[in-house]
Symmetry: C4
Subunit: 235 residues, 4 copies
């Protein structure tokens, strides 16, 4: 039973990792997806630096909630401690995705949070997607990946943001992390973030002082897709 | 007979919806196409939030001219009231298309109408593609999608524009709606609009004070493809 | 014999027309390729406004050197008079190509000739790709397509340019025309022009006062591929 | 034995050359890859100006360490002397790649070295990717391709750069050369360089005074993938 659940997790994590290059969000091996099952105490994540063409579902790495290996297998993605930290502090997320998608990286490198310029953004993110501070030299040396998770969570806490309402962050000088209540949602959020970053850059190119979307339109678009009064889709 | 006509409408609307991601105009489920048959009193539109890979022609939703369902079936696209409003006020249009195509959204988010910089634009749109005003908070709360149709029509009326001569609009902070005398024309107009938005952005990047196309060239290009003296194509 | 030559011309023109959308230079039906056989007194050109998916080699239109039809067949591309004019005045060209490729159109709409910023440009074009003036209102009304050819030739004559050394032009507010000593070269020149337009725009974005390529590097690159001392390729 | 080694070199060089257009780094025939076997005294390089569709592994050209042909065969890439010069001066490189990839050319044409804006860059290049000076007129006339190698090596020597730590350069007004300890690494470095050039341009578009990546993050990212303490990947 547990075995079957883990097999399914591996299959989903594998498929999600393959989807990222198909969507143009990942080049070479620059991305990783994980999924958590909190009841089982299990996280499944992509192995580190394995070529996407050669990768199989079986190679996905199974670790416990602290990131310790539960099977003799491949080395997990080097970003695993960031995923673990996020799972420990964002209680309701089920999957984490990291990429170096071109447009989101550009905003991360620019050190800017992503403004809400339109409904494409509002349909998925209830407000600006925040930018983290840089890690300090000490944080980098001590535990780089773990502390990457720490500055993400700190950013949400300091700005009083709900990680389910804004399931994405731009890590300063690095790139995007997204998450979600399903693995599918988490990779879709990565796609939406990259697309909104591209749209926002072009918006500013077309008009340097572009207006933000009015709050009441943001409310409308977000809540027609999320929450108890949502009426988008078939459910 | 009627049944056969509706089956054909469903097939055309289905194929048009599939064409949009193939042309790069739609990501995930961000688009919708509808077609009207005014004699039969029927509109066919994409179901809301259904994955393009899983979608079938049979799932297209059939409603009456006020948007009321005529079959027990899927929930229609949440943008249906906008389509209904446009069909009620733009007498001769047969299809409506909405996307979040990247370049057109950038202009919509910038709150700018699209200037006529060249013949690519003039071949399809007889003048600037207008930008709407933002909806008011009251309009959003009262009936968001219906009032989106209202501000589009208001924009055409206030500027005295012919919706058949300029079969496209940029909704402020949102994105493009296009239409046409056939479903094929309506989706092509969406493609042309997005392409012209990209070209215009690059034109301004290359020369900040780029000149508009002279009116007599606009006239020439538009009328060699449209109207009684058209001589482009095989008809 | 003549019949066989024309059949081969049709096949080449057909294949070249198909290549343009594959290279991303043409959307919908926005492009046309022709080829001339001066000995036979024959030009073969794409039919007007025919969908690329449905098009066949047999449908290519055969006209004489003044553009008069030699077969009962499809209507030729509406840009045929431009092609005819170019063949009459540029003695050694064998094929003409017109597209609305995105990047070249952006420069054409900006009304700027394309500066020589690098060797990619110099490998194909021996100097700036010129921009034409706008046609006058009278020229447009009198014979738009014919006079488009006229302003292109006028541009080359006024600036004393060799159409074989710079086999391309940007028509102001419109887009690129390219040509060549073979049909293959003519479509490749269209690709190179569009690519150089993209590179030049990005060059200026990265450095607003970018330097032009030194003349001696331009000489070197152009002449290692062209003329009696060329040493690129296998011939 | 030697014959088998050379056959395998040809196959790798052939596959690497094909990979470049698949990754969007090469249009037409604008690129070349070579590989060296210093023990055998052999370099294998792409033939000059051969169409990628028609090219076979057998056609790869075998030359000695001075670039003299070792087989009666095709003419080697005209850039061969640049490759030879690099192999003579960069002791530990095994492969060299040259392309005209769009984004890297834009930076080369702008005459700018590529700043380190983020971790995507730091994962592969330990510092700015340098720009060369222009060749002098004399250098171009005397031995253009050989002297292109010379200015590359001069750039690394003058700035005291390690070609294994920064396996890439932008040749002023021309484009990128990259190299590596394997042929696969060398072509991947070309991809990374182009991607980082695109990201950097967009970073500056989004924020004109974007900060460089802190040195301690650069150190961290570079050394988690390179050197004795690397912990990325499966080895």
């Amino acid at each position: 039973m547990t075995k079957e659940i883990i097999r399914e997790m591996k299959e989903r994590v594998f498929q999600a990792n393959l989807q990222l290059p198909n969507w143009g969000l990942v080049k070479l091996t620059w991305g990783n997806v994980s999924e958590i099952n909190r009841e089982l105490g299990v996280i499944v994540i992509k192995p580190s630096g394995v070529d996407y063409q050669a990768m199989t579902a079986e190679q996905m790495v199974v670790v416990d909630l602290d990131g310790n290996p539960l099977e003799k297998s491949y080395r997990p993605s080097s970003d695993l401690p960031t995923h673990v930290y996020l799972y420990k502090h964002f209680a309701n997320i089920k999957a984490v995705v990291h990429t170096h998608s071109t447009n989101a990286v550009a905003w991360a490198q620019a050190g800017r949070s992503l403004p809400v310029y339109g409904t494409t953004h509002a349909d998925t993110f209830y407000g600006e997607v925040p930018i983290t501070r840089h890690l300090t030299s000490e944080e980098v040396i001590e535990a780089y990946e773990w502390n990457t998770g720490k500055v993400i969570v700190e950013t949400f806490e300091n700005q009083n943001l709900d990680p389910l309402a804004i399931p994405a962050v731009l890590v300063n000088g690095h790139g995007p992390f997204t998450w979600g209540t399903t693995t599918q949602k988490a990779i879709e959020n990565n796609l939406v973030l990259d697309e909104c970053c591209q749209m926002a850059q072009m918006t500013e190119a077309v008009r340097s002082n572009a207006e933000k979307l009015p709050q009441y339109v943001l409310d409308k678009h977000y809540y027609r897709k999320h929450g108890v009064n949502a009426y988008y889709g078939q459910n």
